[in-house]
Each structure stands twice: as C-alpha cells, then as structure tokens.
Symmetry: C2
C-alpha cells in the first residue's frame, strides 16, 4: 500500500471524456490498494475564458475578485471527476481549497501555500475514499478569501498536498511520458531519464523544459518528496500501479541525488530560443557603470540573464552584453534610452536571433573538464559563443539561433547521451 | 437612506456588457445614498452548460458534487460585477454563499436557506461598501459543503438576504417591468399593478406567471419583506432610485394587503396551458376508490391538481376527472394501468388540449358573486367548463384550450381590469 498524489493538468481533463480517462488512472491505483489524492487543473481553455471575462470587466482589477472568478475552473473539474469516480463504483469527494483547508498568502494571483490540514482526508483514506482536490488555489486565512497561486500553480498544489499527506510519491501526469535528455523533436536519439535530481530538474525547468513548474520542484526538494512525471495519454490499464521501489520503471522520478546510484556527469541538454541579446558599445568605463545600466532595468522589473563585459582597446570604454526575455526587448531599449543621462554616451545593438544552450548535470560538481569539452565541441563545428554563464551543475552558452539544433545534437552526442 | 437588496437574473448578467448595465443600476442607488446588497445569478447559459457537463459525467450523480460544480456559475458573475463596480469608483466585494455565510439544509440541489449572518456586510455598509452575493447557494454547516437551492433559487436568496439585512425593499430585476393584470401578449389592455398582495402573487406565481419564484414570495410574506418587480432593461439613469413611500411609482410592489389601500375585487387573470386532463370512465363506485386511484399517483410523485367526481345514472359507477402536468401524462397513464388490479375495471380518456383560467383577487373574501359572474360570462361566450377549483382568493376553471385567449379577454374586461 502506498499513499499517492496524482496531478492532472488542463489538457488531461479537457472534456468529460478525458476526465473519464483520468478516472481510470485513479481506479487502477485504488484497485491496487493505494490511497489516492487527485489534484486537478481547470479544463483547458476554461481559465483563459475566465481571465478574458475579467479583463473585459476591467483591465485594472482587484486581484481578490480575479481569484474568486478564476478559481471556479478547478472547482468544476474536481466535482466532475468525483462524479465520474463514483459512477465507477469508487468512493470519492471533491475538496475546494478552502474546504481542505489549504491556506495561502494574501498575494492574490500569485499566492504561496502557507499550510495544509490534511487530517480529514487522511481519516477518509481509512475507508478508501479518494480525495479530489482543486489545484491552483487556497484560502487566505485572515479575510477568508480565495487566493490563486498563479499559472501552473497546480503542480505546486500537488506537491504540497503530497507533503501534507506524507505521500510516497507525487505523480504529475502531463502530455509527455517523462523527462528526456533533450528535446526529442530535435534529437531523435534523446532518452527518457528514469531518475533526475531535484537540482537538475530545477535547471531544466527554469531553462524552458516546461514539464514541471519551478516552484513545485523547489517545494519537493525542500521536503524530499519524490515527484514522478508521467503521461496521461498512455492507456490507464496498460500502466503499472504505483509500487514502492519500482517507481522508475515508467516516467521520470525527480528525487534526491542520493537515490540516483549511477549518476552521469551530464544528464541533459536544454535550450531556449526566447532570449534576446543587447550590447551597449563604447560605454565610458567608470566606477558604478554596471549599476547605472542594470539599476533602471531592475526598477522596470526586467530580468537580465547573462552578462558579459569586455574592455575596449583604449582602456577607457567598455562593451556590455546581456540577455533579456525576447518579449521584454522593446521595453529594455526604451528603459536604456531613458537612462542615457545617467549612463552617458553609448551605441546600442540588439538581436533576438540568439539561443541559449545549457549542459546540465549534477556530476559536474566532481568532474573537471565538462566546460572545456563543451567549448571545444562547439568550436569544432564553427559555432561562435556570444556569452557564458555557469552554476555548480550547469554551463550555458549563448549562440546564434541558426546553430541551436546543431549545437544540441553535437553536445547530446559528445556527452554520451545518445540512445543506442 | 434606504437599505436595498437588488437581484439580477441570468439574462440581466448574460455577458460583461450586460453586467456593466447592472453596475449602473447599482451606482444609481449608491449615488442616492442607499446601502446596497446585490444578489446575482449565473450568466445565462452557464448553468445549463455546467448541468450538461454533470449529466455527461454521470446521469446518476452525487447531488453534493452537482452543487459544487453548478454553484461556480454565480461565483463568476459576482466577481465580475464587483470588478466592474470598482472600476466605476465604488467600493465593492463579492461574497460566495459560504463566505457570508448563508447556511442551507443538506437537501443538495433543492436546499432551503436555514440562516444568514449578515453582520459583516452590515458593518461594511457603514463605509459604503456594496456587497455582491452569489444567489442560488449556501453552505451546509455540518459537512461544510456547498448546497444549491434549485432552479430559480436566486429570488429566494435575495429575499433571504433582505430579511437578514433588515432591508427596506428587495428589488428583483427581471425582463418585465412589473406584474400585469394578465399576460399583455393576449390582452393589449392589460395594466401594470402598482401593488399586489403576497397572497395574490403566490397564486399568480404558482399559476404560471413566472415573474417570481413561489418560494421567494412565501419567504417575503412570512417576514413581511416588500419585494418589487422591476425591469433591468430600462436605462439605469432613467429610473428613480429607491425612495421610501414612493416605491410603487415604478414596477410592482409585492406587499402586505394592509398596504394596499384601494384593493380591487379581482386583481388579475392568470392562465396555464401545460396541464392535461385525464378521465376514468365507469369506475366502480365503492368506498376508498379515490385513494386507490390517487394513492399510486402520489407514490409515483405525480402532482394531481383539479379533481371532479360525477356519479353515473346507474348509481353504481362514477366518472373521475382530474388534471396533471402535461409532461407527466404518459407516466400517469402507465401508473394507472399498473394499478388496474386495485382500481378495478375502467375506461380511460385523456387530453392535453385544455387550459386552466384563474381569476385572482384578495377582495373575493368579502365580495360574493365573483364566481357566479365568471361562470355566466364564460357561458355567454359558449365556453364549456370541464372542472372547477377554488381557494379563498382564486377561482380556476378548466376549459378547452382553443378558448383560452377568448376566456382571458372576456374575464379581464368583465372584472373591470381593462386599461382606459
């Protein structure tokens, strides 16, 4: 017997027929003797419709009212799934965030879960009742208002429920059957990773591999909750129910690195194409110049990612290159022009035709030469590196977007990730 | 200053543009210094969509889950209206049933309101905050589940809120501008009634004049809460705000008969065409025969309305005529056939081509001859009466449906209801 939290996103519950499919996944677990809490998102499209209503009502709107409206999407799914489960002969009931209760901070629209009382759900596990919980929402305890966690928050709801219920695993059902060494659409030889550490998954998630929401991985890491990525599109009866010790047979288990016996130096290659490069040319090289450039950008809430500073031959000027989200490029250029009096004279160049390629692996910590191998491989293919950033378990390079696929394939092969 | 509850139904909040129109009605009241609680229904069509989802999930469904799903419709409207009101510079917040709280019985899907704590809303009236409350729902206190009141329950929610807040009036906005002496589509000379008593309105409501839900009128009568029927389709700024003592200038005030100074003997003529007539011919006239006929119908939850029994010339048999809802006719015939062993031999005739015409007026209590005038007027037009029922303030006759309009026009004229 295992306690299992199962989370299903919007496309997995897009209509009643898909909800029936979800119910069969749940039934498989119950039939195997597992105790199940299901966390659901809104039917795909519903949240967008509700948000559109709110925007039509007023572009500037009270976040508490936005939450009251938008949170109804999950409430509909939860009730419908409970009904379908009952029609299959299972005991089930829906739980809205305030009913559990899941308490949340007052930051409406992007609230954080502050506590969960899972005692009543645990009590009902004893009589084999399935709990169907609305994702994405909680209740702000002081004013007793519904608070939503922000887009993608249902992953976080699921992990938080798993922690509260001391679950053995939190299974996140998606439209992919696991986490791969890289995007299979680019590299046919990409392999499913049976296990990946929280730290690696965090780098993957923040680097555009949109399988899991970053915050949910952080939460899982903090509480050492095993999270598994699975596909809801596999026939429910063709999938084995949760058995402890055999989790990695399907999907990808995100877990503590201690649980990964044979870890590879590099686990995966990630890439993003939605960054833009900005270069300020011939900025006067005076003390505090970086603050004068990046201060106004921070004030404008523009996230700067990679930064490279190079001094020009005259020694008095510097070129400053950095990247921002491509969608932020126009605002970035405006903000810099407005700050010209502080920064001084400069020329500006920008381009959205760049890609960031990242090599990720917890093994890097103990293995030297990973970066050198990367730089040489790219150089051998004639790919120019525009900027570099590194963390303990990741090396990212910025390159011309035209070479993105070539770079990913090259690195995937050179680090031994290609499937046989 | 008055405390006003304003209720808007589905067609009045059908989309964001219509919700904006509702907000202008509210603003008019706030600008006049009134304290306002608004009760809203789901946007028209939304409840039907949610019910369709539930039915698709399972035809036999847990009423508690049905309620969890269906109650979201009003929650969306309430949030949107609060946002629009705020955008007009008013203070407003939405209240879901469980937040007020409005407690309800555990009869999910057709729950009754058992209590309302309006103290927090009253406290916020002091700082001119508008309360936007979800109609149609409450919370069942023992299990803390959402419970809906059944279709049309938002009228009842509004009256219950008005009672809890000790409001001066409960204004129900509909798609008609008041209660008329009869259906203006049949009688062009029909007049708006400035006032009508609770008792008369109850007869009107239960007789097919679908302006107000019966239960809401009963509740208003029990608490002597003034209810006014108004049109939400009149331009909000063209309507006078609530002023006590001048309520009857627009719409129709449903109130205690003591408030109606010059009451007419007959206030209105109602008609329904959705009944069917059933006649059992030559039933053996033995003791308990009525129980043997109507017992099985009651067991099958079929409501019988009018009953006429006539003895045949031989003295040993009786003909039994009664009416049921036309939609129940097939089930009625089946049930009677199944009960043949108890009832004995009989022939059966049935027809849905009948109409029930009712003359309603609180003045009947003290005026004799109202019924005689009705029978004579119908007889003069050659209209045959198939059955008769009466109450203290109502006389109903069943006639051939072909004569329905003629009968209504004739009676409207003879009781002096025609407009000049």
């Amino acid at each position: 017997m295992a306690v299992v939290v199962m989370k299903f996103g919007g496309t997995s519950v897009a209509n009643v027929e898909r909800i029936r499919n979800v119910a069969r996944h749940v039934k498989r677990e119950v039939d195997a003797g597992n105790k199940v809490c299901v966390v659901v998102s809104a039917m795909s499209g519903v949240t967008n419709q509700l948000v559109a209503y709110v925007r039509e009502a007023s572009l500037l709107h009270d976040a508490r009212e936005y939450d009251a409206v938008v949170a109804t999407g999950e409430q509909v799914t939860a009730g419908l799934l409970a009904i379908v489960l009952q029609s299959m002969g299972l005991q089930a009931r829906s739980w809205q965030g305030w009913q559990v209760p899941i308490t949340a901070s007052a930051a409406h629209g992007s609230a954080r879960i502050t506590g969960i009382d899972g005692s009543e759900i645990l009590r009902r596990f004893e009589s084999d009742e399935v709990a169907v919980v609305t994702g994405f929402q909680g209740i702000e305890p002081e004013r007793q208002r519904v608070a939503t966690l922000g887009r993608g928050g249902s992953d976080t709801s699921a992990v938080a429920m798993a922690v509260a219920l001391k679950a053995d695993v939190c299974d996140i059902y998606t439209d992919v059957d696991g986490v791969y060494t890289t995007d299979p659409r680019i590299v046919a030889k990409a392999k499913r990773l049976p296990k990946i550490s929280y730290e690696e998954m965090l780098e993957m998630a923040s680097l555009g591999s949109k399988v899991l929401q970053t915050r949910s991985v952080e939460l899982a890491m903090n509480h050492r909750m095993r999270v598994r990525v699975l596909s809801s599109f596999v026939a429910p009866e063709a999938m084995a129910p949760v058995r402890l010790g055999q989790l990695e047979d399907i999907g990808t288990v995100v877990c503590d690195e201690d649980e990964i016996v044979e870890s590879q130096v590099v686990s995966g290659i990630a890439y993003v194409k939605d960054e833009a490069k900005v270069t300020l040319i011939k900025v006067e090289d005076k003390p505090g110049i970086a603050a004068r450039i990046f201060g106004p950008l921070a004030d404008a809430n523009i996230n700067v990612d990679m930064i490279v500073q190079s001094v020009t031959p005259d020694g008095k000027h510097t070129d400053m290159t950095f990247t921002v989200q491509a969608t932020e490029l126009p605002r970035t250029l405006e903000t810099l022009k407005a700050a010209k009096s502080e920064i001084g004279e400069f020329e500006i160049q920008s381009s959205a035709d760049v890609a960031k390629i990242s090599v990720i692996g917890i093994g890097m910590r103990s293995h030297a030469g990973v970066a050198a191998l990367m730089f040489k491989a790219l150089s051998d293919k004639g790919i120019n590196i525009l900027a570099i950033t590194t963390s303990e378990i990741k090396i990212s390079v910025l390159i011309d977007a035209a070479y993105a696929e070539l770079a990913v394939r090259t690195l995937h092969s050179i680090y031994g990730l290609d499937a046989d």
